[in-house]
Symmetry: C2
Subunit: 162 residues, 2 copies
C-alpha cells in the first residue's frame, strides 16, 4: 500500500484498504476471529513467513485492529486480541465469505456461517438497519456525505447512474 497521496483519500473504502489492503492482514483477522491469539498459532495456520507475520501483526496493532496483551513477563510474551475496531471488521469477512462461497466453490461450501447455538446455517445479506430493507444495487447508491469535500462531491455529481 505505498501510495503517493494518501492525504486526498477521502473515500472511506480507500481508507479502510489502507489498513487491511494487504491480503495477509485479512487472513490474520479471519484467524483471529477463529480464536487464534498467538504468534505460532497464526504461523502454523497461515504458513506465513515469520518476518511477514511480525510485520503484519505490528501493522494491525498500529492501525488499532489488534491489541498486544502480555501474558508472560519472564520472558515477555504477547498475544494478539481483537479490539472493538477489529471486531467491527467482521461484516467484511462475512461478505467475502458469502461471495466466495457463491462464486468460487464449485464443489460446495467448505466453510459456512452457522448459528452458534443451534448450528443452523445462516445466509448473510445486508439490510438497512432502520428499515430492514435489503440493500440492493438498484435501491441504494453511495452519495456524498456531510463531510464530503468539493472533489468528492463532484465525483458523485458527475455520474450517478440514477
Amino acid at each position: 500500500m505505498q501510495r503517493k497521496n494518501l492525504g486526498d483519500m477521502q473515500c472511506p473504502i480507500a481508507r479502510s484498504l489502507e489498513r487491511v489492503g494487504e491480503w495477509w492482514s485479512i487472513l490474520i483477522l479471519r484467524d483471529a476471529f477463529q480464536g487464534l491469539t498467538r504468534f505460532d498459532q497464526f504461523q502454523k495456520s497461515l504458513e506465513i513467513a515469520p518476518n511477514m507475520l511480525t510485520k503484519r501483526l505490528n501493522a494491525l496493532v498500529e492501525s488499532g485492529l489488534l491489541e498486544r496483551r502480555q501474558y508472560s513477563e519472564h520472558p515477555p510474551r504477547d498475544e494478539y486480541v481483537l479490539t472493538e475496531r477489529g471486531r467491527d471488521f467482521r461484516p467484511v469477512l462475512w461478505a467475502l465469505l458469502a461471495w466466495g462461497n457463491k462464486h468460487f466453490a464449485p464443489e460446495g461450501a467448505s466453510v459456512v456461517l452457522v448459528d452458534s447455538e443451534t448450528g443452523t446455517p445462516a445466509d448473510p445479506i445486508m439490510v438497512d438497519r432502520t428499515t430492514g430493507r435489503p440493500l440492493t444495487e438498484l435501491a441504494f447508491k453511495s452519495a456524498p456525505g456531510p463531510a464530503a469535500d468539493e472533489r468528492t462531491r463532484r465525483r458523485h455529481a458527475a455520474r450517478s447512474p440514477s
Copy 2:
C-alpha cells in the same frame, strides 16, 4: 498475491482474496459501481498508472468480475462492465464503507449510502436472510461446510470459541 500453494486454499475468504486481493482491484470495482466503464475514466478517477490499470482490468476480466464490451470497431475500443459475479461483490464494498465511516472518518462521513429514490441515508448491517436475525459476533460463527476436507474440519474443531 504470489502464493505457493493456492491449491490447498479451501477457505472461501482466501479464494475471494485471490481475485480481489490487490487493493487497486477493489478501488476499480468501487468506481465501476459508480458507473465508470472506460479506461480513461478509471485512470482519471484513480490516478493509476496506465500499465497497472491495464493489468488490473485484465485480471478482473479473467476472474469474471468485469466483462469487456466493444463499443467501437474502428478503432477497436472496449468498455468494462460488471458481470453478475462482479455485482455480487457489492456487499463487500458496503461493509468496507460502513467500517471506514465508523472508524476512519473523524471529521464525519464523506460518502454514505442512500436510498436512490428518497435519498434517505442507510445504515448497512448483515442479517441472516431467512430469519432476519442480525449477525453478531456471539450469535454466529463459521463452521465447516458440506464440502469441507479433513484439514478444514480439523482447523475448526481445534478451537471454536463456542
